[in-house]
Symmetry: D2
Subunit: 496 residues, 4 copies
């Protein structure tokens, strides 16, 4: 059986000792093994990155950018293969994988502009004949630890910019769907990146802790659940590193009485059930203002959901695929059960879905739950499945209050056509990424991605301008030249 | 005896229960008591800040800036009083206190430009008919914990910008010289700042820990010793907060053979002994390249040091004052003793200094130590006294290597007139603030202040542009308006 | 009779040969004479500016900013005097003059942040061991030519930033109300500006042409009518100078059926009649969408206009004052006559206004004209008086089309609460400054001011970030240091 | 014979009426004809651009950038063909053409980052509940008029950014070597650019004047000689357009006594004779400080020049090719004659060069002239040939004075290793692009290109950040939403 290994110092590598099963979630079968790196293997990757740093940091900016331009081209040329690898191990439908990859490529494109982005601040005559300027120098070895749900995109949020800024990188991707991540990283070598600048280690807590504790690692970027994000942030910072750790979410959409409801429903279908809801930006709660709004929303959503089709990744006609594991499938179903038990109404029930030919796949059908309340476990926790819950409130203030009281603050949206309501909402909602009639307000690559409250630990966000700051360290140089010796001829007799 | 209390919700306040002595270090006498806030008092300050936040964040940017313009004017009008308060409790000479205050005022001036600095990033047509923009919203309640050595300046690095950005603030200044800090903060009320936006609590670890643990506090700025900085950073981040913690320093100057030595000596005198060396940017090590350079440096420094005069704060003819406490005086002397014992040469000895009329003051004379080596304790640790140590090396590479190997990386300087040497040095030295013939390369207020390695924990620096990022949280709004209803007349019958 | 002269090289100056009457427009009487500079006098001012340039450009940025901080304080201290001077010669009511001055002061405040604004772009490792950076250096002698309607504010758009950037300045203000401008400029000397950096020459075409043709003048900023703006732009550029020339306006407000009409009417009253409509941002045309909207607008405006009171400048209870001259009064009345003759309906007629005690003042009462069409002369030309014309259209598209077809494109506004209409309007309207429910969308001091089409000639706008670009010239320095001589000891024997 | 035509609305086009010879300057033979567009043809191109504008400006930024990414790839794939076309018509050696193309591609790469570059400035709470932001909207139809010496690069300075910003373009390239320019532009169609967005018209003054006078053309970018640049600037601005017009140059290098002379000579060989000196950044004057420096420079240069080889474009072993025309060849020789007549010393004489097999080519050999003085015609005017003139001065001040007195201020360089001399030079020299030991200080693509004095007319430079400003127009939107109707339920009964 294939063993998915590591990529260290420009070469494929595999530890033989510990491995873990990789499933095809559409069939429910084990398809590969992934190597789990030992502490020594991780240290080897760090050492490779450390060794590659001095030459890479001195490589002119334009040459670093040139690698990114070639990397972008290679990603596009290999898109089909990448999407297939994602589909095989994650289960998301190929069009969805293509969307993920496209978003990832956009981060590479942004890194192509590193010449502009790295510009320092130059102050002439900061004092008498004194100039002062800040350079943004690379940190050295930096690391990323990434989740299963976007095996292509989330790593691409991190290392292209880190590397373009002159750092070297060790990536620890999810062990559940490691193949696309590993393959993508290997394309960097083809793009001309010197060996050792980019390294991938697959693994578990052993690998993570090694990265968090090693003195040579300067910075840690993490995306995953809040529980782990908090651990990463606390541990990395206790080891003196800078850290940005992105955690979980519970994203609400407010549906106002004046919303264009057909539009809202169309948007919600994709935002709630796309990728089986396994997105940190998935819209999992709709807050309907007024019972009339709620009734209409339930009716139209139920109608729209009839057309949704769960199925296998390579079939483009499918709308979404299985969830990642058997255990997760059961967990999602458990949340639906609990909501029902807690008194919510299961308007559309996806618990009994069966996909012909893939009866053992980890599928959950699209589910709509009405009359959810904030005290239910299914509301408080992140389900990460194809489940949309509807809460009914009387006023927009009430809707905003419950969003602001939730522990997460990743994404949110309002459906309205009223300028005042939109502005009040976006100003006062305690959430990092806000949509006005946009249900998945993922920032473009030249803005930055990050939530508020317990959805992000740290002060700089993922990708975009913040990533440039995160992956560089300011150095401020203040310069005054002494008396005009050479210029005025004092040293005229210098040998020339 | 005067008790220096707190400033909470616009009013002077004092806990009666716990106090601590405040000394006049020039006389060695206790001059005041400072209140040590209880947990409850600190929580009251936090509550006041929390309550003041909603209105303050909604105050237009221009009105927030207007407070800063008035604050600047008040600081200038009250400069003499502030400098006297600093001199009485810290001991620095009035001209030095005036310099400190001026640097602090420059941070207020930078905060006056908050309209420019807070500009968000607006992306038109990020998608089809979709606009997206990032706002930099204030965090809420933020805190600063500041050291004794710059009681006016370091707090002014923090709260003017924090407040200008729309946050509310709780400051915990040094309990050793609290009066100037407290007085300055009270001027903000006179400048028109609403009550509760700025609060000061004096105290000790009780106050610090309360601030670090309280859920309402969003961010922590700290300046002090590395040991405490590390504690602050670890604790604040473990509590989910963003944190910037600036620690200790050991700042080296390389003196190259081609340096303008008279100029270098003049610069070093001030940089090593000013403020008794109690500056995190003090130059405490001179690295002479070549014995000829070293010999000439020792000769000229010894000569120059003859004119230096330690003394009481209010006498402008003095060059520097006492150190902060009796214990610190003994610690500094102890470092000189240990250097001597370890084999270094005491070229100029300040241990026996006595200031007429101030025999009980905590004075240490300017001290020059030659033949220091990197294994000596006096080299490894931060002395924070008027002591300049000289290390002799053969090459610039050797000089740079020892700087790069030191645990601190705050400031450094090279004396040369060679463009190539200067560029190589500034590029490769692992230090955050670099001077080319500038011994105290403190960045101007529109750059940012921060060291590398164990001199700073976090990713954003103090004051300048980084402070704007530190005291705000990005919110990205993505907006698409639905069909053209009103515009095309669908809703033409709306009541107007 | 007082002769208003010039301010050259730090001293008040007066040509004796040619003068012109200055009126008090409230009384209709000549109150002063203004000197009209000869070519020689203007050249003297240019020479003073040229001589002051080298030292001023080398003055550290912080010291240049310090002058602006003091200037701001002096403007505030002298506000009453300034407003009185404006009132006496321009006629605007004191509260309006105070508003003008405040806007002007905000431009001084923005110039206080010049340290931030002048930052150059620094590119490390642009090539192998090659750094490159751009500095924004001052131009030298620059000039401003300003209109009567904002004698304080418009000059303050120009010279504070020009001077803060290191340039020296010659201002040619309006000869109709020169006193406040001259007085304000003289405060710069009190603020510590070196003589010669700022100079004012009063005058007519002789002065203007001298400034446009003199080789030493590097740049020209102009605000006035389009006819003159075009002349200035063509002449200045033909003389090889950079130039920004702001011209006339015809600012339309679209009133949508869903607008909050009471709010709209309140806003329109001030925007149309404030300062007698003598503002380039005055709203002079309301475009009502639908007859119902138009009828309601006419009714409510007519009602609201009953309370408006024209009168003398120093009486705060007045809403607006006289127009600037007898000739202009007659011209405004002529436009109303022509509209009437062309078939428009005079809904409120201000032609016969008489102000008790000021019967000879140049007053025109607030006038509302309904049923205006785009072929009328009163629509095509800028009236610059207290006259609001109403055009009735059936659709928003129609409203936008007529705005886009007008030769001017300075300001505009839409009244609506619909997000989609607002976005469509602001995206597609061919106007530089756009209000959404804001009738006078004058940009804040940290944005820039400029119209489109024939309202502005040039590519950089007035004040704000554009002004920094306009008043500086990019210099890009590319630096590579040759072999490591000094660093590696080749020149070790340099005398030290 | 091939007729090189136009590219209008996505199609190759040719006027039949007027044509002009295109030469192969290596052979001296006519190789093609170029069509000279009539006024009607140019207007057709403008009309096509105008028609394409509305859809293109509304195309999301990312899609516009995607065209640039594909265009870059196509330029790389077609590099050999492009370089051959350049060689055939311009005569520059293929490695030099490749360098030109690479520089051009870097401008396309910069345009790929347009998402970042177009970000507007967003000000939240500029007033009470008032937000304000500036968008940078495209202008409409813009034009570029480009010279023969960089037929690939200079057009690529202009239209990629103009188009990426949302404008449509009409290019009028040099009629002397039109083929590469035309071919490159046609690749944009292959890259997916909609028809009409990019158009090329070949022609002469008829075409130029049509572009300058047509009301639909919003902006003009020009690169060429100063005489024409001035005409373009004056005419375009007199027609109310924004314009940037780059003219001629006379670039000096100062050689200081402490310079690394071997390095300086190596640099000067390429900088003076590369591309036969037909570069606006060519170094045509060396100013030697001190006779010892001058003597050594002449000796080493003469030695180095022995190895230089003029020849035909496709032979990589050649160093430079012919000049552009027979007339220009004679003009260059005439300048050498005149210098000789005026008393200069012809140290190396290239007048009699003959290239075997290309005896009728327009070749001039590398020429070194010593003892040049500032009163000689050969010094005052731009030669634009492979001629380096040496001026001897006694001091650096003298060297700088003569540079500052020259009418041009494009590029310059100093050779020194002294930090103070370098800083003094770069600060005070009146030249836009300054090299420290870099003889051709052409800014990287993310800085901007422009000279001072009569080397550039206008205020915004070519390519880089300035180009973004030049090709966009600021629109500032100020937004306040009225009362909270929808939000607070007033309109609750809206049909949903």
């Amino acid at each position: 059986m294939t063993i998915v290994g590591h990529f260290i110092n420009g070469e494929a590598r595999s530890d033989s000792e510990r491995t873990q099963d990789v499933y095809n979630p559409s069939t429910g079968e084990v398809s590969k093994q992934v190597a789990l790196a030992s502490k020594e293997t991780v240290e080897e990757a760090i050492a490779a990155a450390q060794a590659a740093f001095p030459a890479w940091r001195n490589t002119p900016v334009g040459k670093r950018a040139a690698v990114m331009f070639r990397f972008k081209a290679l990603l596009e040329q290999n898109a089909d293969k990448i999407c297939q690898l994602i589909g095989d191990e994650h289960g998301k439908i190929c069009h969805d994988a293509a969307g993920e990859l496209q978003r990832g490529i956009e981060n590479v494109e942004y890194a192509c502009g590193v010449g502009e982005l790295l510009k320092g601040e130059h102050s002439k005559n900061a004092g008498p004949q004194i100039d002062s300027w800040s350079e943004f120098q690379p940190l050295g070895v930096v690391t990323g630890i990434t989740p299963f749900n976007f095996p292509a995109m989330v790593p691409l949020w991190m290392y292209p910019m880190a590397i373009a800024c002159g750092n070297t990188f060790v990536l620890k991707p999810s062990e559940r769907d490691p193949s696309s991540t590993l393959f993508i990283a290997s394309l960097l070598k083809e793009a001309g990146l010197p060996d050792g600048v980019m390294n991938v280690v697959n693994g578990d807590k052993v690998a993570v802790d090694t990265l968090l504790e090693d003195k040579r690692v300067q910075a840690v970027s993490f995306v995953g659940s809040t529980h782990i994000a908090e651990y990463i942030y606390t541990t990395a910072t206790a080891n003196g590193k800078r850290c940005q750790a992105l955690g979980g979410a519970k994203n609400h959409a407010i549906v106002m009485p004046d919303a264009d409801l057909d539009n809202a429903v169309n948007q919600l279908l994709g935002a709630a059930f796309g990728s089986s809801g396994e997105r940190c930006m998935a819209l999992s709660v709709a807050v309907a203002v007024g019972d009339a709004t709620a009734d209409a929303l339930i009716t139209k959503m139920s109608e729209g959901m009839k057309a949704l089709k769960a199925g296998e990744a390579s079939d483009k006609s499918n709308d979404f695929g299985p969830v990642i594991t058997r255990a997760h499938q059961q967990k999602v179903v458990g949340y639906i059960d609990s909501a029902e038990k807690d008194g919510a109404t299961i308007a559309v029930d996806g618990r009994e879905v069966s996909v012909s030919g893939y009866e053992d796949g980890f599928f959950v059908g699209a589910t709509l739950i009405d009359n959810v309340t904030t005290d239910m476990v299914s509301y408080k926790e992140e389900i990460f499945g194809p489940v949309l819950q509807v809460i009914r409130v009387d006023t927009m203030e009430e809707a905003m209050a419950l969003i602001n009281e939730h522990e997460y603050g990743n994404g949110t949206c309002i459906f309205t056509r009223d300028g005042e309501a939109a502005r009040y909402f976006s100003d006062n909602i305690q959430v990092g990424m806000v949509g006005i009639n946009v249900p998945l307000p993922v920032p473009v690559s030249y803005q930055s991605f990050g939530g508020w409250k317990r959805s992000l630990f740290g002060d700089l966000y993922a990708y975009g301008p913040d990533a440039v700051k995160f992956y560089t360290r300011r150095k401020t140089i203040t310069q005054r030249w002494p008396s005009s010796g050479v210029r005025e001829g004092v040293n005229f007799s210098f040998p020339s």
